[in-house]
Homo-oligomer: 266 residues x 2
């Protein structure tokens, strides 16, 4: 599943994101290389390229990370390793922490969607921002959380809310991307054929109704206007392309021809 | 990373979702049990519980799916297996298809966010809805896509847009959940201590400013009002709890006491 190549506006927004310098993703003491790779993949899916690792358990670089990244090597190759979280965020202005529970601290908490909006505002103002993610098993410890300005919590099913590391990175990065992507919510993929004009559509309606008239389809003249309206509405909901209109002219002709042919042979 | 237990409104919305009957997730010819399990986990994270499988490659039930589901067994136990996509969607009213590319077809395409809004509208109107996801390697084939009303495409980084199966399920299910979750975008987790009232806060300011007055901190009386305003604004941005206000009273007293003590010993 992917974005396809149908949304030219995305290329523009991606270039804008790259130029701005998106949030740094900081994985604190990640355990499995596979998960680091999956995080890199999720980051690049969403236009984020700057990864920092605090004390990765299995060292760095890590072949399993490369294998799991599905080709997001531009993220892994640029990843920087730090010996402490404080060092990893030293050059940043605003830091968010993702965590399972807030425990016994007083902290501001936002959804990923709100965080995305705030992160874009920070970046637009020239501030460097980062997001902390904790180790797979335990999540961030309090000593890491206290280094953050704000916490991010995903408001999922309270009865089953545990996400794996790459899924957490994906949701936060996805909201970052969506906030700027300005993708069309709805469009019709038409391939090579443009949408039909109203004239082309009305010619099709005229063709159909003309043939139906000759068949005696409209047995009750007083009901004809509402029948015509209903069929026009049905076909209009299909918002056809030029090519599809031509196809339906052909369908009508074929059905009429078959009927005429049958009339001749009877 | 999880939702925490700080959002009581979610329990309500979850109950509403369960009662309504959310979208059915239909995996067409899924290959790896691990991926089926990861999909079940992502579904339950987002309150979806109805899974259908069309010709799962390695048969069903599948132990690897259970292992990868992180406990989402209520989804796996209820999963139903079908021999064809058409059979799997027979009782549904609206079907969405997720796909990498639109290829040579004319189809309506929406983002996951738009799909979530439309899916909720369908469900609220009593319609049964489902979402098709294709096999890991190839995605849905055209013969499956044509069974759908509308396609869902995630508008990610056009240069790197490939999602794995569970990630695709997660993003679509996440948008479904978020559309109804009505989670507070921003709140301050205060634990046991409620936010301070304005009176408690102003008493703290008075305490601080009174002590500072006695130390001769405000050397230029004409500048005192703006200095007071600045410090009040700084502390106000911390939007303290009752307990934190008490702590800061203690901090002021301790600092003053130390100074007095020092004065006595000098």
């Amino acid at each position: 599943m992917s974005s396809g190549t149908n949304r030219p506006e995305l290329a523009k927004s991606q270039a804008a994101l790259n130029a701005q310098g998106g949030p740094v993703v900081i994985l604190v003491e990640p355990q499995m290389g596979e998960n680091i790779g999956a995080c890199a993949r999720a980051m690049l899916n969403c236009g984020l390229t700057e990864l920092r690792l605090v004390n990765p358990r299995d060292g760095w670089p890590n072949e399993k990370a490369v294998a799991a990244s599905a080709g997001a090597t531009e993220v892994l190759d640029r990843a920087r390793v730090f010996t402490g979280t404080r060092e990893a965020i030293a050059d940043l202005h605003k830091v968010y922490a993702t965590a399972a529970r807030v425990r016994d601290m007083v902290k501001d908490i936002v959804t990923p969607r709100r965080a995305a909006r705030d992160l874009h505002a920070h970046v637009a103002a020239g501030r460097r921002v980062g997001i902390l993610f904790g180790p797979e098993r335990t999540g961030l410890v309090n000593d890491d959380i206290v280094l953050s300005d704000t916490m991010i919590s995903v408001p999922l099913n309270p009865g089953f809310s545990s996400l794996n590391l790459a899924q957490a990175v994906l949701l936060v990065a996805y909201e970052w991307w969506m906030e700027a992507a300005q993708a069309e919510e709805f469009y019709t993929h038409t391939g090579q054929s443009p949408p039909a004009t109203k004239e082309e559509l009305h010619n099709l309606f005229d063709h159909l109704e003309g043939e139906l008239d000759q068949t005696g389809f409209y047995t009750h003249p007083d009901k004809k206007p509402s029948m015509v309206r209903n069929v026009r509405n049905t076909l209009q909901r299909a918002h056809m392309t030029e090519q599809e209109v031509r196809t339906f002219h052909g369908i009508i002709a074929a059905l009429v021809g078959r009927k005429k042919q049958r009339a001749r042979t009877e």
